[in-house]
Symmetry: C3
């Protein structure tokens, strides 16, 4: 069994951004030499997500507004008890749970085994600093 590991680093300008990392995962897959197996892609931070959906700017704006309704950014300690620690990112911990920490993608004949519109995104909910995602590939 082969295994391969690669970190992808980000430093977003805005608090929240959605970055298509499919080409980076495809590069990692080519580097791994794995032809049949599984690729795990996960945020290494607990205020960010990795998810799969459509690379359509309107949809990404929709997600952003919807997540803000489900868990609004509000630095007060009334909004989030987590802010008693001095943090102001309670909303980001919640948004990340809706969108998920990780995806697992099948690898078939050396390719990401995707349906027609699947694209992998890094969803940043507390940006403006260096953060990263992990790609771990196993297989033959």
């Amino acid at each position: 069994m082969k295994s391969y590991r690669k970190e992808l680093w980000f430093n977003t300008q805005k608090r929240r951004e959605y970055i298509n990392i499919t080409p980076d995962v495809e590069t990692a897959l080519a580097e791994s030499g794995v032809v049949e197996g599984l690729a795990l892609v996960n945020a290494m931070h607990i205020t960010a997500s990795v998810f799969i959906n459509d690379d359509e700017p309107g949809l990404l704006q929709d997600y952003d507004q919807w997540l803000e309704r489900l868990a609004p950014h509000d630095p007060s300690t009334e909004a989030y008890k987590h802010h008693r620690t001095g943090e102001d990112n309670g909303d980001a911990h919640h948004k990340r749970e809706v969108m998920g920490r990780q995806v697992v993608v099948a690898i078939t004949e050396g390719q990401l085994d995707f349906g027609p519109w699947e694209q992998i995104f890094y969803g940043e909910f507390d940006g403006g600093r260096r953060k990263r995602a992990l790609v771990k590939i196993i297989g033959d």
Copy 2:
């Protein structure tokens, strides 16, 4: 390491349906010959989910109504910017994120290693056309 791949196809009558695909995944597992490993089951479309829960009709209705509250079906461009592309399925992209794209199931002694009530569902949120899920099994 063995690997096995199978597509499961659906063409639902209604916009939203919840289909128990556990028998199909068990069939794929038997075909794979894998005794110890992991099974990935994922929607290949970005307006559908694969999730694990109880095969109880009342619960599935509860999920459906709850998802409709969290992300209502509304074809207007006010409701979802995604509809500026001509699509009317913005809600389906959101519902899918709540329920998730994929499950990963342990394979032990040639069986899906499940608790007492776990069943795998394909959750369709934008049906009435041919769509599919992927089963990818790796192991020995």
Copy 3:
């Protein structure tokens, strides 16, 4: 390819509790002898979650209150059709879908390959009875 399986059992006092199981998963990893691979950790019950986030008591309280807003505990059959079966845990089935059934964690050089704050939690939403999570590890 090696594989290893272990059940983790819980019997919470309260209906809802959040238990850091990272040390248990690390023990299972050491027992497995796997150095490079993947660890699947999943709830074996459909009213519980396994998720990764921060071990900060205020945040866990925030999650609990937020989940209660998204899917309130209410034993009536008006609140959840699932209760027509005699159950009173419809809310728990919904909370579990927000937080997720499983995590998949990379194993690198014999360790859980984690970012700085990642911790694995068992999230119980219908406790007061014996329930369990599964750890399945595959790799070399």
